[in-house]
Symmetry: C2
Amino acid sequence: MKQILIQFLSNFSELTQTQVNEMADLMKVATFKKNSSIVKEGDYCTSCYFVLKGCLRQYIIQDGIEKTIAIYTENQSINYFISEDIQTKAENNLICIEDSTILVGNPKSDAQLFSKFPMLVDITRRMIEADLNTAQKNISTLITSSPEQRYKHLLEERPDLIQRVPQHIIASFLGITPESLSRIRKRIATVNK
Amino acid sequence: MKQILIQFLSNFSELTQTQVNEMADLMKVATFKKNSSIVKEGDYCTSCYFVLKGCLRQYIIQDGIEKTIAIYTENQSINYFISEDIQTKAENNLICIEDSTILVGNPKSDAQLFSKFPMLVDITRRMIEADLNTAQKNISTLITSSPEQRYKHLLEERPDLIQRVPQHIIASFLGITPESLSRIRKRIATVNK
């Protein structure tokens, strides 16, 4: 289990192997079986997550229907806003689509790690910056694209999701019905023939 | 001009007044007149921005039509992905809606500031984390809400925008025509009577 974390940390050329091993010892890694619920809407936010292996999704329930708002795979962070001053409640649910191995952090453990390994602060900052860049691109796509364009964008940007995630979840993530997604897929298949 | 920056930095209780003044001397602040173009699609990304005062928007041009993908006001950062390894091109345009005072940074100036003031790394990380949280909430709203719900959400979350930003830009930001926005506004006004 720790081996996946060590492999991941070894990607950062600024870390020595000794540092990687020491960090891995201090970090908390958890494994979850497929369909495990990790966060429920209304829970107090206590942790943030980083996917080392697996696939998870966030959803909200609106008028009795599950609406998928994010799908995460390897090397993506799943942020919940944790404030030191006020207790915040999760506004969505987090569940595993596959068996998943996840790095679990919280402000206290982060502070301990940052104090022992100051270079981690900057590594974390750069990773969050990349996540923010991705989120802003997603916003741009959501504002400017039709469901069909969004599906094509997903095919280009995250082709693995189409294989790993059930179609009804992909449809929900695109904000359309499974039937509409099926029509879009047929249309694209016909054009590409 | 620097006074706005000093005021902003003074909000961080972990910084002494001497540090605030020294930082302000090293940071680059620029002012732009209303309608100034700051970034053009296809430009090489060289800087990131943080709004000290004013209002700006990002848009793309799609089939000859401007589509607003983000509106920024005070205390929001405007990120462009700048990699040390490859030159990246801006995928959108950035223009001032109002006269604006902006903090301008780049990886080199950031590195100098971070090395002189290590506590800034963590302050920056927390600010980007809050931006990411906001971006993820926006994604959730975009996936799960109708244009009318998104307009109501905007009224709640960023009521100042309704006053500061021309209606056709608000409409574009909601992904609807100005006529549809006008109908939504009338409907809400009738319900609230």
